[in-house]
Amino acid sequence: MAILGKLHGFLRQKGISELKEGVLIPLVIILGLSPLLALASFKPVEIKAAYLYNLANFVHWPETTMQDGDFVMEVLGNPELARNLALLTKGEKLEGRNIIVRSINSVEEIHDCQILFVDSSREQEVSARLLEKLAQKHTLIVGNSRGFLQKGAMVGLVLTGKRIIIAINTRLAERVGISFSSKLLKVAHKY
């Protein structure tokens, strides 16, 4: 409050032009720096959510799956990630369709969806056979580990050092008609 009082006195004394030079300019400079500070560091769930949010724009599903209805993303075994993803997609549409984020807690709850994210703690429960079945339904399966990619997932968000990189099993995805934009392929590690 004392600051505001001082500012008020300062305004009256110096006039608005002074304010522009003396306060606004440094203020703009300082605020301009703030994205730099945001670079500091993020939780893995935040970065993974941002990846998943981005992924939808760079993946092409076969026409048959892209019928009417909602665009559904399911997150198995990580409610916090689902919450972050829901926040990111709030009010967003994908090719005119509503985006639905579902947090699920068991393999039985997996329904028709375009993207299925399986948390690393639950990868054991998802069998290679189930993965194959989901792939045939054109579900993009996203996991966290190299092992899961080997097992039959299409995309991996893998912690490497201090960063999370994206790895893609293009062969597996293309087999069932899912393709990736060149922009994504350029950045992703091929597997």
């Binding site: 003396g22 730099l36 945001a38 970065i47 990846y51 092992g147 490497t160 994504l184 950045v187 590690h189």
Partner: protein, 673 residues
């Protein structure tokens, strides 16, 4: 300066402070802002972000079944200490003492000396323990300290994994990966003892799947003081440069290539008159240079199976009037870890090391043979067996190695770990480790002293002995760790060590060499190196980390140590004597994050008296003030040894005169881009 400008400057400054204060408190908790920011990033940008998570360090410290302590990069930065040996002071239970301006005596659990032969030290997997005298030439070791990821210190035997000489402990200095040191960093500073130091590092990318960094640094340290307050002539300067590259050609493969080059010069006061010389040596200067290259390849077969192959080549050259040493080491190491039958976590490894040296004779040292090539072959197998999932496991393992001095050595260990809750851990271990003979133990002829009595010149000659075998340790250890949440942790470890066949020397039959031309006749009194003494060592080490508030962290440690030599004889060996180690040591470190990006850090170390070396106990206080006026710039001021003008930390060793550590200060500026 007119009023207007003053107003403006004042306001800007005030706003900066206000913004920093507000931002530093709200930044971490504002999840929505984080997401909003992430939403606008491309996939490429996402893949370059750093994540915060439970670090490997924290995981290691809370989960290990050994007395482990990890010095983090944050500890390094906030200590303000400028060399690797000084950083080791932060480790509870380690004995770290300056002998003179560029030499240290560093050991764990006793046996401290100029060359402490029971502590193994590795840098990125490269052994820096010299096979010549068994120990570390600390005045040749350094790196770009900002690029160290962590220093892991294990007290107690680590021989099953690390091999011979990891008797009382093993230190692993691990540098960051190249992708974690991207961008530039320039630093420079100076003070009364640190007369000038500077360094720069730059990191960039190689294609899409490779990263690199290069660095160069230099420092110049002034002399300490003698007991009487004179200049001790033990200054030290060194320059060093190096690189590291990390490649990830595919998800399952990692390549690393790194290397360093260094050159330096250090002085000491070694008062000695070798035979055949009338003028004594006193102030001697040593030239050092060398380099190393390390290549490693890591392949992930699966989440639970990892293969690592590493080679390194290392060359060092040391030249002073006493010792002229050139040494080349070549090492190849393979390690494979995997999970078998669900309950077994197996690691096996094979290693081959070749060391070749050249040691021309000096008036003081004659090595026989002058040049020698030694081979070391070793292999190990370790199995960690889970008895109750995530609660109880045991680890069995052994190392088997063959060296050219003592032949085959077996170094097994048995460990047990019990985690009744996720916050508590009990561990216990029994292990065997050996200190294998050094090149000097077998081959040296070291003129210790010359004494002219009438027409006869007596020469005391310390002689290597080809029958000298390994020194052996059987260690019993136990520990307990308690960490309820992330703000408080407590760690205690106890040990009882039984040492056998420790080194000493026996006086042999004198031999007379009649002078052919003129007097004096020479009388050689040999002192032969032998395995003789048995000794027990026991003690405890306690450490605790306390997060007092969000902005204030305390780190406490205490250690108590006793050695018991089984002999009634008068023993002169410095490292064996119980009164040459500090009985009690404690330290308090405090890290404070003050408003306006100011850090105030302090460290207090207390070390007990070393009666045998006539070194009084001392308490050392260091303080550091750091300030980041803007994001990329940091300034710091460091004050060391505030409590006294100067103090000794170790005693003179033979002809090497110890000197006293003076009060000192320096200022430093670091710019990152």
């Amino acid at each position: 300066m007119n009023g207007k400008i003053l107003w403006r400057v004042g306001w800007t400054f005030f706003l900066v402070l206000a913004w920093l204060a507000v931002h530093s408190t709200t930044h971490a908790s504002n999840q929505d802002n984080h997401l909003l920011y992430l939403k606008n990033l491309s996939i490429a940008q996402l893949s370059s972000l750093e994540v915060t998570s439970v670090s490997k360090t924290e995981e290691k410290m809370s989960d290990a079944d050994a007395a482990i302590y990890v010095i983090t990069q944050e500890d390094i930065r906030r200590s303000g200490l400028t060399s690797i040996p000084e950083l080791l002071r932060m480790v509870p239970g380690l004995q770290v003492a300056h002998i003179d301006g560029n030499k240290w005596a560093i050991s764990a659990r006793g046996f401290n000396a100029w060359y402490s032969d029971k502590l193994l030290v590795l840098m990125d997997g490269r052994s820096i323990y010299t096979p010549l005298f068994s120990g570390v030439n600390w005045n040749m070791q350094d790196t770009f300290l900002d690029d160290i990821d962590r220093i892991e210190v294990i007290r107690g035997p680590g021989a099953t994994l690390w091999g011979a000489n990891a008797v009382n402990g093993v230190i692993n200095i691990i540098t960051k990966k190249a992708q974690d040191t991207q961008g530039g960093l320039v630093k420079a500073g100076g003070g009364n003892l640190e007369q000038g130091f500077g360094g720069a590092r730059y990191g960039g990318t190689i294609g899409e799947k490779g990263w690199y960094r290069v660095y160069a640094k230099y420092f110049n340290r002034a002399s300490f003081k003698t007991r009487s307050g004179h200049d001790a002539n033990d200054d030290w300067e060194m320059g060093r440069c190096g690189f590291r590259m990390d490649f990830y050609p595919s998800l399952n493969n990692e390549f690393t290539l790194e290397g360093d080059l260094f050159a330096g010069q250090s002085s000491s006061f070694l008062a000695f008159t070798p035979p055949g010389r009338s003028v004594p040596f006193d102030e001697i200067s040593e030239d050092q240079n060398g380099g190393d290259i390390i290549g490693s390849f890591r392949h992930h077969f699966s989440e639970t199976s990892d293969l690592k192959i590493q080679f390194y080549f290392d060359r060092t050259h040391r030249y002073n009037p006493y010792i002229k040493e050139t040494r080349n080491n070549f090492d190849l190491d393979i390690q494979h870890s995997f999970v078998a039958f669900k309950r077994h976590h197996l690691i096996w490894g094979l290693e081959y090391r070749l060391t070749h040296d050249n040691l021309p004779r000096t008036p003081v040292f004659i090595f026989d043979p002058k040049s020698r090539t030694d081979n070391l072959f070793s292999g190990f197998l370790q199995d960690q067996i889970s008895i109750i999932d995530k609660t109880l496991d045991i680890t069995l393992g052994t190392k088997l190695e063959h060296n050219d001095y003592s032949g085959f050595e077996v170094q097994p260990s048995f460990r047990i770990r019990y985690k009744p809750t996720i916050h508590q851990l009990f561990w216990a271990a029994i292990s065997r480790a050996v200190r294998t003979p050094s090149r000097a133990d077998h081959d040296m002829n070291f003129t210790l002293q010359t004494l002219n009595v009438g027409p006869v010149q007596n020469i005391m000659l310390l002689r290597g002995n080809d029958d000298f075998g390994s020194e052996k340790l059987l260690a019993y250890e136990a520990g307990y760790r308690f960490a309820p949440g992330r703000r408080y942790s407590f760690d205690i470890s106890l040990f009882y060590n039984v040492y056998r066949d420790l080194r000493t020397n026996h006086i042999g039959e004198p031999t007379q060499i009649p002078s052919l031309f003129a007097s004096p006749n020479i009388n050689i009194i040999p002192l032969n190196i032998v395995n003789q003494y048995h000794e027990d060592g026991y003690g405890l080490e306690i450490s605790s980390q306390i997060g007092m508030t969000k902005w204030w962290k305390l780190s406490l440690s205490y250690s108590w140590l006793k050695l018991l030599l089984h002999t009634s004889k008068q023993v002169n060996d410095i490292e064996l004597k119980e009164d040459n180690i500090p009985r009690n040591q404690f330290s308090i470190r405090s890290y404070m994050d003050l408003p306006a990006n100011i850090q105030f850090d302090a460290m207090l170390f207390h070390v007990d008296t070393l009666n045998g070396l006539d070194v009084p106990g001392y308490t050392r206080l260091d303080m550091r003030l750091g300030w980041n006026p803007i994001k990329n710039l940091s300034l710091s001021l460091k004050l060391q040894n505030l409590l006294d003008n100067r103090h000794p930390e170790f005693g003179s060793i033979g002809a090497l005169r110890a000197s006293e550590v003076p009060r000192s200060f320096y200022g430093k500026l670091t710019w990152q881009f």
